[in-house]
Subunit: 172 residues, 2 copies
Amino acid sequence: MLKQDFRTSHGYWVHMTAHRFECAMNAELADEGITYRQCQVLAWLSLEGNLSQVELARFMHVQPSTLVPVLDRMVRDGLIDRKSAPDDRRKRIITPTRKALPVWKRIIKCVQRVRAKSRAGLSDEEVIQLRSLLMRVHDNLGEPLDKARVKPVGPEQSLPVTRPSRRAIQQK
Amino acid sequence: MLKQDFRTSHGYWVHMTAHRFECAMNAELADEGITYRQCQVLAWLSLEGNLSQVELARFMHVQPSTLVPVLDRMVRDGLIDRKSAPDDRRKRIITPTRKALPVWKRIIKCVQRVRAKSRAGLSDEEVIQLRSLLMRVHDNLGEPLDKARVKPVGPEQSLPVTRPSRRAIQQK
DNA sequence: AACGAATACTTAGCATGCTTATCATTAGGT
DNA sequence: ACCTAATGATAAGCATGCTAAGTATTCGTT
């Protein structure tokens, strides 16, 4: 077998680091009885307000069908509600329940702990540079599945904001 | 809901970039009828030689039980063999078949394409710096589950798991 | 040598992911 | 208005992930 030491590649380290982030988050979140993915749902709802399932899926860059069982469990656990939209009866609007707020507050603490731990020993400049390099690699890899999903039709009527402007993020 | 713009955090971009890497690899590998995870199995075998399932799981940083269905499918597809080890009949040694070699050669091409695409516009120094920053973040986040798995040779090895059980979460 | 602990693998159950197909509803063109 | 196409949610099938529990085998200590 041809040897190929991928451990020297940046892709390998992106993968390993993401894995550690997710494990660290899951370990912190276990006490809250919530998973990493469920926490992301609450995060996007807090940032963007109530969303339909398709909108939420687009923000999270997963398929709408992937979200169905995730949301099912969150409804079961009383973290969110699914309400039919009056203007379009196909849509189900996802809304955090009152019970979700205290959970979300504790989640923010978890995130801050993991973030602080992860950047120990790195200067502010290094963190910014890491983020900037990652964003460039991210953009290089294109839109693997959005392309097929986004309709390039017409005068971009309700273009559902795939991503925020790069500049807005940079200058923070 | 309290707003918390995680899109400015390096953790978010690690996550998003890893996702894109995996999608790009899966798209390339689809023609080979192989998945990202299966390709990693061949990669580790090519790098470390034949391994038992536990050894392979350790290299890949997944649980041994996770590997069972992955290896089942690879045996089914004729990519690997599971041979009982003569010295320890509990072990099953994983070996790539003859059929796996040409697949592996094409996989290397896929990896090289994705890697080249991902680092477009980045200098060698920037790639090295990215990798170096990722490794520091990776190390900061510690050993989320290796700790329980790697025997510290000490007297305190019976500690089963760090994470609480699913059921304990349910009844929160 | 005997016996309890550790190890290797498997199985079962849950939680994500994806693709493809289906159903209901809405939108668009004639 | 009418018919077709597009859209939103779901369902079904496959591929990973994890934990927990079970079986077979080996190790370590006595």
